[in-house]
Each structure stands twice: as structure tokens, then as C-alpha cells.
Amino acid sequence: MAHRWKSDLNWSDVTPKQAFLNRRQLLTGAAALVASPAIAGLGGAPSAYSTTEAPNTLEEITNYNNFYEFGTDKEDPAQNAGGLTTDPWAVQIDGLVDKPGSYDLGDLLSGVSLEERIYRFRCVEAWSMIVPWVGFELSTLLARVGVQPSAKYVYFETLVRPEEMPGQRRPLLDWPYREGLRLDEAMNPLTILATGLYDEPLPNQNGAPLRLVVPWKYGFKSIKSIVRISLMDKQPETTWNMINAREYGFYSNVNPTVDHPRWSQATERRIGGGLFSKRQETLMFNGYGEEVADLYAGMDLKKLY
């Protein structure tokens, strides 16, 4: 039997969908991590970087998404992303790398060891979830393609395919969606490329088949359905920053002391608490300060928000 990071039940091969949608309640004892290899699913190995907080349900994680390629309402991605073709999938890797080229997803994934990373996820809109991602560290991919010494930033692009992404039929954003990280942020072990959640392949609305997850930054930095990764020597243009630089900085680290101009970032609402859910305090760097605060030593985060 497969026992992953909990010992009491094994949803991935024996539990009917309906039952594991309610597993949030069962998971309050999620601290009981059992490290034995999984048989079913993707088999992401447990990680010391995972939080012990109880994850949100699959229903919550897959029905409350910002993915404007599929519409602006939170339910739109769940409704409209079903038709996205994610196989075949290629990622163009270029810029200041030793081995540029178009890499097939299967090729990219061969040889990487998948881990389960249960991370806090904090949206810039002041809501949050706990998500059990499955993925691998971005640094392993970068090492493989060879980052040249002059590279300082990593730039990402989402797929543009209006036939399958109805939101792209309108110029709501300047497609493609673009994001970027400083190279040291990209190399941090917390930064992963995710291919799954709840030990199964990523649902389309969550950014299938390959997305970035940077847990100490606001969610929009964690770009979905990636088709291009480019190493650059200059800070790349990023979508929300292009639209409104005053509201969305390049760094966009979770920071309770720097408000969004239209709402406070001091607190957040954890999805799943219902109509009377209480707000909770937002943590600096979303609680990942120990791992990432050094990256920003000496920087004025009120200016470089």
C-alpha cells in the first residue's frame, strides 16, 4: 500500500473522488508524515520544505483560480480549461544558456526526481490556500541547460493559443502572460516547477502541464502553462507590472507591511472557511523568511515591492 505523507488513509488509489474532496477534515493530523515510496500517482517524495498545515481540498484548489487566459471569474478556468491540449508540449529554452533549444516536456522530466511540496499559496488579492504541489526544483533544470555567467534573470512565458484559451480572444492582457525572477530567486530551493498536485498531474486550470511555484511571492508570479524559459542579463518585463507598476512590483514578495493601493495586505482569508471565515495575519515572505530573507538583504522592500 502506498503511504505518502499521512498514515491514516490512502486516497489516491482507493478513495472515491467524492470522499477525498472532503479530506480536509481528515487531514488535521497531516503532521504525521510517513516517508515510504508511493506506488500510485506521480509519487512525489515528501520534502522537508512542506508545511504541516492541512492542505485545501482538491475541489477548492481547482475551482478558485486566476487564469485570465480562460476568463476573469474565479470559476472560469475550471469551466473553460478542459479543452487545452497539454500533450504534446514543448518548452523553448533560450537566451544566455549553453544548451538552448526546444525541449519536449517528457525530455525535461526524464531524470528529475519529483517531490511533494505542500506550500502556502498567497494571492495578491488577499486570499490564500495550502497546496500540495508535485514538482522539482527549477535549479535542476537550469543546471541542466547551463546558465551562462552573464545571466542575471530568468524570464517565463505562458502559452498563447486563443483557439483553446478563450480569454485570449480579447486583448485583456498583452498576451503572452510573462513573468520573471532574479537568478538567485530562481535558484532558491523553494522555487519549483510543478507538474502535479495531490500526487496527480496538474489539472489544466492550475497551469498544466508545467508551472512555476514561488511560495514567498504573490501568486501571479507563479506563472502557468509555461512554453518559454529565457535567461537574460536585464530585468524582464512582467505582465502585471506592465499593466500597473504602482500596484504590482517586479518582486511582489508577500509583505504584510506594504499594502496594495486598493486593499490591505496585512491579513488574508484562507479559502475553505465558509461565509464566516476569520481573516488571519499575513506572514512576511509568506512565512518563508528563513529561506529567502537573505536574498533581499539591504534592499528597501517598501520601494522594491
Binding site: 476573469t72 474565479k74 486598493r262 491579513t267 461565509l275 481573516r279
Partner: protein, 201 residues
Amino acid sequence: MPVSDRINATLRKVPAWPLYIVGPLPGLWVFWLGLTGGLGVEPIKALEHELGQFALKLLVVGLAITPLRRFAGLNLIKFRRAIGLLAFFYIVAHLAVWLFLDVQDGSLIWKDIVKRPYITIGMAAFVLMLPLALTSNNWSIRKLGPKWRQLHKLTYLAVPLGGIHFVMLVKGWQIEPLAYLFVILGLLALRFRFIQRRVAA
């Protein structure tokens, strides 16, 4: 007999009071949905949005009543008070969700009102509507006389503020809020005499 006359004749037999009973039902229904999981995984924002939308729709209907009579001969004046008061009911409910379910922290409320323009504007719209709601009764109309009509011109300020509030709170420029604002401004324009002459001609 023109269609409008026939409709007017029928409507004359329909009383306005059932609106006060039927009107709040959609609000109670969405509250119930929010309680029971029918508004998705984040019911607070969803409820706040639903109530704001009901309010705005009612305000638009309320603004349309005079032009409908002037240009289409349709007489719905009898229902206008109920529509206005229902809009106010939804704004109060919208505000209550914001206060008690969304923001929660009393110390943040004032900060939000002064710091966030879309809240400032929504609040301004609410404050302007308070005297209107309080004087939407026969006694006030009698008591205030011609001043009543002057006072109720505040609608022309309050409703577009509600529309602007909607435009400001969405990310980027989205079509729906702009469409509302466009309709509101159009209905207000029909109050200008020179435009009225053009439309009638």
C-alpha cells in the same frame, strides 16, 4: 390603443406592495447559497459581489423609469419608490457583508474608507442615498413639499458614483462595469432638455 396604453392599463391594476416582499428574496436566496456552499469555495466575496450587482441593477431600473414614461409612454412611476428602497436594502446588505464578513477588523474600516478610492466612492454613494431612503414616504413628501424633488436629485450623483465604484474595483478595464456606467450616464443624459428634444424629434 397603443401597446404602452394597454400595458399601463394592466399595470394600474397591479399593486406595488408585493415588490417589498418579492424584492428581498433574491438577496436571502444568495445568503442561503453562501451558507450552504452554493456560492463556490469563497462565499464572502461572492455574496458581496452578488449584492452589489443587485443594488446596481435596481438603481439602473430606477433611473430608467422617467425616460420610459417620457419616450415610451410607459408609466411605472408607481413602482419607483419600491425599486429605490429595494436598491437601498441591497446596498445596506452589501455594506454589511463588507463590514462584518469581509473586513471584520473595526480598526481597518475607517482606514479602508479614506485610503481606498473605490471604497470612498462607494461610501459616498451610500451616504448620499441615506436621506433619499429616509424620505421615501408620503409623510416626507408632504412635509418637504417642493424641496423633496430637489433633494431627490441627489440620485443623479449617487447612482453614477455606484457605477464608478464598480469600474474602479475590477482589475484592469473590464467590459461589464463600463457597460453599466455607460447605461447610467446615458439615462442621466436623457434628463437634459436639449437631448430630450433631440430624442423626441
